[in-house]
Amino acid sequence: MDKPAALDTFSHFETPEGVVLTMSVAGPVTRALAWLVDAVIRYSIVFAIAIVGSTLGNLGNGLLFLTIFLMEWLYPVVFEVLKGATPGKKQLGLAVVHADGTPLTWSSSLIRNLLRAVDFLPFLYGLGLLSMLIHPQFKRLGDMAAGTLVVHVTANGKRRAIPKTEPLPLQMVLSANEERAILDFAERSEQLSPSRADELAQHVVQALIERGYVNSTAGESASQTLVRIANSLVRS
C-alpha cells in the first residue's frame, strides 16, 4: 500500500496465510493502569505471606524472600506466557503478543520483563515512558529488545443483523466504499435513536435522489429507505 502512513495506533502484520491482520496497540495510560492493578495484586500477596510468615519464624522469612523475588521478577513472565496477559492487563483488556501476533514465548517474555529494571530508571518507569512516547507503537525498551507489543484485545461481540425489509434496488452501481458505508449504517441503525438515524440517513438519501440512484421515496423515513437499499445490496 502506498497510502501515506495514517496517524493511528494500529499495527498491521501479514500472516503466512496471506491475510493482513490488524491489532490496536495500547498506549502508556492504559498500560500504567494495568501495572497499577498488578502492583496491588503483587503487594497484597507479599503482604499476606508476610503476615502468615511472621507466625512461622525463620521458615516464614525464607518464604517471604522467595515470594518477593517471584513477585518482582517472574509474576509477569508466568502470566504472560500461560495466560497471554497479567491479571492487571486482562482487567484492562490488554494482551502481550509478538509483533507478528503470535503468543509470547518464555524467552521473549523473560527479555521484556527482566528489562523492566532499565525501563524503571531513573524512577517509576521514567525511561520506559519516554521510550513509549517516542516509539510509534508505544514500545518500552524491553518491548524493543523482545520484539513484543501490548495490544487491546477486541471483544468477540455478536454483531447485529441488518433489519429485513423490502429491498430497494438502485438504478446505478455505487462504489465499493459507498456500499460498505450503507451496509454499516444499516447494521447499526437499530442502535441509534430513530431521529438520529433519520438525521444521518437524510444526507445520504438526498444525495442519492439528486444524482438519480433512486427515485424519490415518499411516505417513508430516510433511514427506512437506506435500510431497504442495504437489503438490496446483501440479498439478490
Binding site: T15, E17, G18, V19, L21, T22, M23, L56, G57, N58, L59, N61, G62, L63, L64, F65, L66, I68, F69, E72, W73, G84, V97, D100, G101, T102, P103, T105, S107, L110, I111, L114, L115, R116, A117, V118, L121, L141, G142, M144, A145, A146, G147, T154, N156, R159, R160, I162, A176, N177, E179, R180, L183, D184, A186, E187, L233, V234, R235, S236
Partner: protein, 325 residues
C-alpha cells in the same frame, strides 16, 4: 456473490471454528478432535480476505478478522514438553551459548576479576583502602560474621534447618536480583553491565583482601569456597548477557540497531537463564553447605576447587564439543 449468500454459505464453518476456539481458549481439557483446525483457520483467513476485497459490511469483516486473529494465536503457539526442553537447555543450550559468545564472556570475567584482584591486593597491603568502597558499619559487620572467635560462620552455627531456608530465600532474592540488574544494565549501551561487574568485583575483592589481612582465613575462605564457583561465574555470565545487548547497540553490523538488538536478546536471555540456574545452585550451597562448621576447612577448599573445575569442564566440554561438531 452477495453478502447474504456468502454468509449463509459459510456460517456453519465459522460457527464450528468459533466453537473450537472457545474450547482451545478455555482452560478445560480439550474433548473434540482438532485435526480440522488448521484447514478451518486457512478457510477463515481466505473468507476474511474475500469479504474485505468485496467490501462486505465492516461488521462482517470485523467478525472474520477477530476469528482470524484468535485462530492465529492458537495455531502459532509454541509448544514442547518443558522437562525435555529444560534438559536440552542444560546439556546443550546453555553451555553452547556460553561457548559461542566466549569472547564476551571472557570480557565480562575480566571486568569482574581484574578489579577484584586489584582491590583485593590493595585491601591486603593497605587495609584502610577498604573504606574507599564501603563504610565502617559494613566492615564491622563483615568482621563479626567471619571472626574465628565467634562460633558463628556466616551466621549462627546452632541455627536450625529453617534458618538455612531463610538464608536460601534471602540469597535467591538478593543474588538473582543482582544478576538480573547486571543484565538489564546492558540496555544502557552496555554501560550498566560494565558498572555492575566492576562494582561487584571491587566489593568482593576488597572484602576478601581485607579479611585475609585480618587473618580470618579459614572462616572466610572456608565459607565462600563452596559456592564461589557458581555465584561468581553466574554474575559474570549475567554481565556477559548485558554486554551482548550493549554490543548489539554499539556494533549492529549490517542489521538495523533494532534488529541487531532483537537478535542479541535471543542469546542473551539464554545466558541469563543459565546464570539464574547457577545462582539458584549457589544459593543452595551457600545456605546448606557453606555454613557447616563440622566440615574441616581443607575439605571445603577441595570441594570448592572441584566445583570450579567441574564448571569450567562443563562449559568447555559441553559447549565446545557441540561447537566442534
Amino acid at each position: 456473490m452477495k453478502q447474504q449468500q456468502f454468509e449463509s454459505q459459510y456460517q456453519a464453518t465459522w460457527q464450528q471454528f468459533e466453537e473450537m476456539l472457545d474450547e482451545l481458549e478455555s482452560s478445560k481439557k480439550i474433548s473434540r478432535s482438532m485435526a480440522s483446525f488448521p484447514a478451518l483457520y486457512r478457510a477463515v483467513c481466505s473468507h476474511y480476505a474475500i469479504a474485505n476485497e468485496r467490501h462486505y459490511s465492516s461488521a462482517l469483516c470485523g467478525v472474520l478478522h477477530s476469528l482470524a486473529v484468535r485462530g492465529q494465536r492458537q495455531l502459532y503457539r509454541h509448544r514442547g514438553h518443558w522437562l525435555w526442553r529444560f534438559a536440552h537447555f542444560l546439556l546443550f543450550g546453555f553451555p553452547g551459548v556460553v561457548w559461542r559468545h566466549r569472547g564476551v564472556v571472557l570480557l565480562a570475567l575480566g571486568l569482574f576479576w581484574l578489579p577484584a584482584f586489584a582491590m583485593g591486593l590493595a585491601a591486603y597491603w593497605f587495609p584502610d583502602s577498604i573504606y574507599m568502597i564501603t563504610d565502617g558499619y559494613n566492615v564491622a559487620q563483615f568482621e563479626t560474621m567471619y571472626d574465628p572467635g565467634n562460633e558463628h560462620l556466616g551466621r549462627r552455627e546452632n541455627r536450625a534447618a529453617e534458618s538455612n531456608f531463610a538464608m536460601f530465600g534471602y540469597y535467591i532474592m538478593n543474588n538473582v536480583g543482582i544478576g538480573f540488574r547486571t543484565f538489564a544494565g546492558g540496555m544502557l549501551l552496555g554501560l550498566g553491565s560494565i558498572f555492575f561487574l566492576v562494582f561487584n568485583g571491587l566489593q568482593i575483592g576488597g572484602v576478601a583482601g581485607y579479611l585475609t589481612w585480618r587473618g580470618y582465613i579459614e572462616t572466610f575462605w572456608g565459607f565462600v569456597a563452596g559456592h564461589s564457583a557458581f555465584e561468581l561465574t553466574a554474575i559474570c555470565i549475567c554481565g556477559a548477557a548485558g554486554l551482548l545487548l550493549g554490543k548489539a547497540l554499539w556494533m549492529p553490523g549490517r542489521l538495523s540497531r533494532m534488529q541487531s538488538l532483537r537478535a542479541a536478546a535471543k542469546d542473551a536471555v539464554q545466558l541469563l537463564l543459565g546464570g539464574m540456574l547457577l545462582l539458584v545452585m549457589a544459593a543452595f550451597v551457600e545456605a546448606y553447605w557453606s555454613p557447616l562448621n563440622s566440615v574441616p576447612a581443607f575439605v571445603k577448599y577441595v570441594v570448592g576447587a572441584s566445583l570450579w573445575l567441574l564448571l569450567i569442564l562443563y562449559f568447555v566440554v559441553a559447549g565446545g564439543w557441540r561447537e566442534s561438531r
